[in-house]
């Protein structure tokens, strides 16, 4: 007998195969123009030739670099910002309205401005990506720090811990699950930031490649790039999950045993 888990996975895989086959049949049978909906086989061919000729690699590397730099910058400032706002009620009252307003402004709408400030190319995209990553991490760090059990705070007071010790040894470790959940959201948003940043201000990278393929009316290439972006996103997400498992394994101990 197959377990329910296995059955679910098989069904999921079966659905994928059905969709691809249906798509292929539709693209061929209904004579839809390859400009509108290229068949999967055509897309795979475009993807393969791009990978083999080495055409995609510099772009993939470019986007990947922007993604990692923007993510690192945004998460570092978001984390520190969350700690500062979490620790000081005064600064929270003073700064939070500004932080909120800055986050309600759609960052992508600021992209043209950043191009004026930082020029075309990598810097603008990294700044946009960092701005997008900043908020989820700051928000979650703030929440995580404030969710500490009051009893544990009393315990640390009882043991004569300094505010710094309480922060480093109690608040950050106990808020870690919430902080890392914010990181996961940031990873996904970072990809959006990097790609859309390249739409507007890039001559290199996967986003720029999509714009270029649109101009060339090369729809199979566009789909191939979309596929690459998806794989990049999945890989980053899996990395984030791996990091979470690594850092949280004592927290997860009980659940993994069952």
């Amino acid at each position: 007998m197959l377990s329910r888990v296995m059955l679910g996975r098989l069904a999921s895989l079966g659905l994928f195969v059905a969709i691809v086959l249906g798509w292929e049949a539709l693209a061929r049978g209904a004579r839809v123009s390859a400009l509108v909906l290229p068949a999967p086989s055509v897309i795979v061919e475009a993807l393969w030739s791009g990978l083999r000729s080495g055409y995609f690699w510099p772009h993939l590397l470019h986007t990947g670099t922007e993604l990692v730099l923007g993510l690192a910058l945004g998460c570092a400032t978001g984390f520190l910002g969350g700690i500062v706002l979490g620790e000081s009620a005064f600064l929270r009252r003073v700064l939070f309205p500004y932080v909120l307003v800055s986050q309600v402004v759609p960052k992508l709408a600021l992209a043209p401005l950043f191009i004026v400030w930082f020029g075309f190319g990598m810097t603008s995209t990294v700044v946009i990506t960092a701005l997008i990553c900043f908020f989820p991490l700051m928000e979650n760090t703030l929440t995580g720090l404030q969710q500490v059990e009051p009893r544990k705070l009393e315990l640390f007071r009882m043991l004569g811990a300094t505010p710094m010790q309480t922060l480093l040894r109690l608040k950050i470790p106990s808020g870690l699950p919430v902080i890392l959940a914010g990181f996961r959201v940031a990873v996904v948003l970072a990809l959006v930031g990097a790609v859309v940043g390249e739409f507007i201000g890039g001559s290199k990278g996967l986003g720029a490649l999509i714009i270029a393929s649109q101009a060339m009316m090369d729809t199979p290439l566009m789909f191939a790039v979309l596929l690459l972006i998806t794989v990049l996103g999945l890989a980053m997400y899996q990395l984030a999950i791996g990091l979470e498992r690594l850092l949280l394994w004592p927290h997860l101990k009980e659940t993994t045993k069952e």
């Binding site: 009393e154 315990l155 640390f156 009882m158 004569g160 811990a161 109690l170 004592p250 009980e254």
Partner: protein, 244 residues
């Protein structure tokens, strides 16, 4: 404690002019209904709260803030899930300095006394509720406090686990000559553990009963007639004290 009072904003006096003394090495317990100020009184004794009026004195020194001469065990074990059991026990030391081999030996010894010698490398979530309470007690005893304060530490445990823990707890405290102030809502627990029982109602200590039962105490005593007589006495005192 002398004439200690405390009130929260917008509430009547939670602790009202309480006088209480514990001689060195004695175990005293405090009973009362829920919400009558027991926990607040204990936090005053710990220095976690400062009294509005009156003074709390430990070893002749007025208490201004919590310190290492005091051990505190909370209602729930309050362990850090991301640290091993041994590191949890060592926490009072690691917050002050780097733990020495002697500290580790002391922590191992306490865990052994608590019957947890093999579990030092485990994480708290892998332990049962009773074992977690034992870890919390071991942690409170690490710095050999002169006064140990406990806030219903066994309230969430089943009856048999609780009895075992009470016996182990008494044995260790008698061994170290630790002074103990034990807050509970369980009358038999209060009587079993203590040399003296204080009854609290409406923020005041309404009765003060000596428990003249022999030491060491064991299972026969727990279910014997003299023990039940004392329990009944405490119960009557609680009835007389009004409601909370």
């Amino acid at each position: 404690m002398r004439r200690v009072s405390y009130s929260f904003p917008a509430y009547p006096q939670v602790v009202n002019q309480v006088d209480w003394q514990i001689a060195r090495g004695e175990v005293h317990s405090l009973v009362g209904r829920s919400g009558c100020g027991k926990t607040t009184l204990l936090k005053l004794a710990a220095g976690l709260l400062l009294p509005d009026a009156g003074t709390v004195t430990v070893d002749g020194q007025a208490l201004r803030k919590p310190g290492s001469q005091l051990g505190f065990v909370f209602q729930a074990p309050t362990l850090l899930e991301w640290k091993t059991v041994l590191d949890n026990v060592l926490l009072p030391v690691t917050l002050q300095r780097k733990p020495l081999p002697a500290d580790r030996a002391r922590a191992d010894e306490l865990l052994a006394l608590m019957g947890l010698s093999d579990l030092g490398r485990r994480f708290p979530t892998e332990l049962s509720g009773g074992q977690q309470s034992r870890v919390a007690i071991a942690r409170a005893l690490l710095l050999a406090p002169s006064l140990l304060l406990l806030d219903e530490p066994f309230a969430a445990l089943d009856a048999i686990t609780r009895e075992e823990l009470q016996d182990d707890f008494l044995r260790i405290c008698r061994l170290a000559q630790t002074t103990v102030f034990f807050v509970t809502h369980d009358i038999s627990e209060a009587v079993y553990l203590a040399d003296r029982v204080a009854v609290m109602a409406d923020g005041k200590i309404t009765d003060d009963l000596a428990v003249n039962l022999p030491w060491p105490r064991g299972r026969e005593l727990r279910y014997g007639a003299p023990f039940n007589a004392v329990c009944a006495q405490v119960r009557r005192a609680m009835d007389g004290g009004g409601t909370c």
